[in-house]
Amino acid sequence: MSKRWRISALAGVTVGVAAAVAPFFLPGSAGARGRSELVAFRMASIPAVFKDGIASSARSAGIPASTLVEVAPAGQPIAKAGLVVGRGPSGDMVSFFTAHSFTSFRGVADAPQGEELTIGASIQPDANGDTGHVQLLGIAAPDVTKATLDLRNGATLTVQLVKAGSAGYSFFTYVSDDRASFPAVAHVYDSTGSERQSRDLTLALAAPK
């Protein structure tokens, strides 16, 4: 095997692998959407004003900083939105955050109020005043093993469920700046494949005007 051939082969393999995995890491790309990562809160790339607020809210709720983790959309240098989960005196607690706000911590089991699927979302307008940007944040009950989104373009996307905390709940994120790929319906399923709940998001994500 000549040296030139080996270099060419290695270059070809490298390019092929890069092409295959790049969609999963590029911010906002189709592949990256619906994938989430778990980050220690102290390492989280949350805008400082919200990170300070979330940390203070956690202290008020009696949550040790060492238990805080962020569930964030994968591949985003600065998180536009996400969830922060920590261990409070009476169990796991969660805070939602967006580019413009954060919520006080509340019990992970309290927020769903008996539902299998809890949706949080933040939307912002485009130049015409319609919904132009969507950040979707989900909490799924412990028996949920799969979550999917029906997108407006007709595609169905399986979103990554990330376990955080000790109560068995899982979390997911999805961001889109493209109307065609805004979520229309969210579904969650248990390990037998049975749908546990679905949520039509069409009105929920429409512009409030």
């Binding site: 008020s60 413009h100 954060f102 009105l203 409030p208 005007k209």
Partner: protein
């Protein structure tokens, strides 16, 4: 006999009204729910100008009937700048960088919904 029955019916009606009205009145304390507590028709929203010139302003709401409702952020003229879809009884702390924005609540559902909505300065009163 008719008078007695009428009296009984009147007493029962008053008792029924009191039973329903008491929790509603307790829930609808407008010194707390500063944006208001009322039925929202579909696509109806109410806001209040932010109280703090800077820093955080908080929206807190409760609702029922539907699973979702929205907290909204608008400019001073009422153009929407953002909205957060969050579970009932959530405190949402906005930091928008403006001094005259408005915050409040909006019913995104297809039917009428009762919403208690509050806006206050800061974020510590949870």
């Amino acid at each position: 006999m008719r008078r007695v029955l009428t009296l009984i019916a009147a007493v029962a009606a008053i008792a029924a009204v009191e039973t329903v009205a008491a929790p509603v009145a307790a829930a609808c304390d407008t010194s707390y729910w500063t944006v208001g507590c009322q039925f929202y028709s579909p696509s109806e929203g109410h806001t209040r100008t932010q109280l703090g010139a800077s820093g955080f302003n908080t929206t807190h709401y409760t609702f029922d009937t539907f699973t979702n409702s929205k907290m909204i952020w608008t400019t001073a003229s009422g153009t929407w700048s953002g909205a957060d879809l969050l579970p009932s009884n959530t405190w949402d702390h906005w930091h928008t960088g403006n001094t005259d924005d408005k915050f409040g609540c909006f019913n995104p559902n297809s039917g009428t919904e009762w919403v208690n909505c509050r806006e206050y300065q800061g974020w510590g009163n949870t």
